[in-house]
Symmetry: C2
Subunit: 434 residues, 2 copies
């Protein structure tokens, strides 16, 4: 396809959805991308650009002339334009903004004045609002009279505003269509109505949409006046990103990483976490070193000790993951924290005793020392209780100190389980066996 | 509040959103829940029931008389009713179905005939469809003429159907409202139009909605005829559940688990994974046991070997999580699998050499044996390359065999990293040091 045949390229890509074209561009290599985009040039639409992954999009925006980009993004709703420009470097951003029409530019600059990851960045300015004292007929005539370009690409509600431009309710288009013309709009508003502050964090916005099954929500500025609107597809994207972040953070991977990153970006992103892990692992080894003499006298301890640590690490990760998720979904709150902690500790104790007994039999049979079985059983039970305690208390504590539990819980929890595991097993062994 | 004062209870709960009432019920203990529901009785709405977590809802449905439940769910859209009944036991299900009106019952039974987690279960039967040759005016008059109860609670599109009831396109209500009455509907259909097969897996449906930014999609039966409609809020719920499942599965937690489960349910859910981990940990210990004599001669090996294994485990988990996510989001495909694998292996080699050098210095200084440093550096590099290889190849292979990589990758990857880590470190030590 890369035979410099622009016409054929256009023909092939034309029928595809923007999201699919973006996927295609992401799957090819960087030089191919540049070649494709330079060849395609003006054909590239704003929608394709806004579907692209950030790490792929930025280098491409540098290649494309600003006029082409400005032309491409002209038809996008303001929230998509904001998403596209917000991560650009200063200079590139201002060049692009200058190429926009003045009205669009003011809107985008306004959105950029709100903090990153806030409702202000997420919202679009295109919306349909009417005075609260209008009737169904007036609203319908108003929508009919509007210029196509002034209406949002997609809209599902008509927002009712007070004379001071404060949103007071909304009406779904379905209700609007099925009601008689003389009905006042205030009579058919939806009970689910909720406004969002312009400074609200986008993760909270996504939670609101998911929790209350909202389709769209008006955004209000610090004075309670209507500033924009957020729609469910934006909330769904945020929710998706949040999940992605959580899952990657729990595994100790840089949450902005993508398959399209270079080797060097990836190496650095992973190294941070491995460094933290190296320090905690050395710390655990120092515990083992305390009992070097004990191990010297009974090498079976060295063979068995990773089992205790590994079971502790796994049980701790289980509890921690459940706790981190429950905090994110707000199922775990101050009110039920103690009850949930007790439950986790009980579960840890039961599994600890159960697997302790199993492991005791394995160890006693393997090495022919019954007391070794008793030691490993006891150590296993202690470690699994510590794992449960650490797995629930650490995320809750981090949350209280406003640290993201998904990001930081991992190393703390494994340190606790490793240290307790090695201490319990080797300590008990030195006391009982030698 | 539990002073048997039903009126006061009603007064307190009345103004709350159903989702909040459900949260409140989930946070209190089981006996309190039963007391509250029995006291509240008929006041409980279908929406509250459908917001409740499954493990909380089922015992409550047993307490409530079927007529009360049937009354409560009468106003729900058919997809919510299906969700509510599908997990009930046979007998309870049929009692509830009998209490429904005949028309609703046929609809629910029809949906239940589709496989679990399929589009057929997810869809609602309430929708607005009109013949494809109608004009804007005809469609508006039709919606106006419909009885309030026959329209869906929320709808955003009018679906155009052929005479054979096959959906051919849809029109947003916004376009409908802003177009002139005589415009034919076929002129203002949305390009994003996509139908979903009734047997399509719900996770694929969620992917479609997220990928193409759909708001609603018509569902067609095996003959291509319109069977129902799925809306974005259902897709968002599925997406949320899928993520939840992935994150829990990666950590080895039963994906149906919830904070509201009993101690016993939780213990069993966790034990399965711990059992798998115990077996793999014993396997790794057998590798250590091969080198028991080597350790006996140099106890520093026992002190340092968990560091190699731990770094390998972490690096493996990082790569594996990225791979599992990329498979789920369809970023990792057959086409780029080899390129991505190479990248991961390169990253593993670079980090392996880097941390190997760091650890060599630490080990050499700690134990005063320079060659020990060389051994650990080499072992670390080998282990991190194996971790990268295992972390990417295992999820891809599982996916090919149609096994959920999120569920099964973990134990395989840690077994690989543990075994390679211990083998490399102890094996090299026995060759070089002794």
């Amino acid at each position: 396809v890369e035979a410099q045949d622009a016409d054929q390229l256009n023909e092939l890509l034309e029928p595809l959805h923007a999201a699919d074209v973006a996927d295609l561009i992401e799957q090819i290599s960087q030089p191919e991308r540049v070649a494709l985009v330079e060849l395609w040039g003006e054909g590239i639409g704003g929608e394709v650009l806004s579907e692209l992954n950030e790490s792929v999009r930025e280098p491409l925006l540098e290649v494309l002339p600003p006029e082409v980009v400005a032309e491409a993004i002209r038809d996008l709703d303001s929230d998509d334009v904001v998403e596209l420009v917000e991560d650009l470097e200063e200079e590139q951003q201002s060049r692009l903004l200058e190429a926009l029409e003045i009205k669009d530019r003011i809107g985008v600059e306004g959105a950029l004045s709100y903090p990153e990851y806030s409702a202000g960045r997420l919202m679009q300015r295109e919306l349909v609002a009417v005075p609260e004292d209008w009737s169904v007929g007036q609203a319908i005539d108003f929508i009919r009279g509007e210029d196509e370009d002034d209406l949002p690409d997609q809209f599902y509600h008509v927002i009712l505003v007070s004379p001071a431009m404060k949103p007071v309710g909304y009406v779904t288009l379905g209700r609007l269509l099925s009601s008689r013309r003389q009905v006042p709009l205030t009579e058919i508003t939806e009970p689910s109505f909720r406004t969002v502050d312009v400074t609200e964090e986008s993760s909270n916005v996504a939670y609101l949409f998911n929790h209350y099954h909202l389709i769209s929500a008006p955004v209000v500025d610090e004075n309670g006046r209507l500033a924009g609107m957020i729609t469910i597809d934006d909330a769904m994207t945020v929710l998706d990103e949040e999940h992605e972040e959580d899952i990657l953070r729990l595994a100790g991977v840089d949450e902005d990483s993508s398959l399209a990153d270079t080797v060097w970006q990836t190496t650095r992103g992973r190294a941070v976490w491995l460094m933290v892990n190296l320090v905690t692992a050395i710390f655990a080894s120092m515990v083992i070193n305390l009992y070097a003499e004990t191990i010297d006298q009974m090498v079976a301890l060295a063979v068995l000790m990773p089992i205790v640590a590994s079971m502790g690490g796994n049980a701790g990760t289980q509890t921690m993951t459940v706790a981190v998720r429950a905090i994110a979904t707000r199922e775990l709150t101050r009110r039920n924290a103690i009850r949930v902690s007790w439950r986790e500790i009980t579960v840890g104790a039961i599994n600890g005793l159960g697997f302790g007994v199993v492991m005791a039999l394995v160890a006693a049979l393997w090495f022919g020392v019954p007391m070794l079985g008793a030691v490993i059983a006891l150590a296993m039970a202690l470690t699994l209780v510590a794992a449960a305690l650490g797995g629930i208390v650490i995320p809750i504590a981090l949350e209280r100190f406003n640290i993201d539990p998904a990001l930081a819980s991992g190393p703390f929890v494994t340190t606790v389980t490793d240290v307790v595991g090695f201490f319990a097993f080797l300590g008990l062994a030195s006391l009982i066996l030698l």
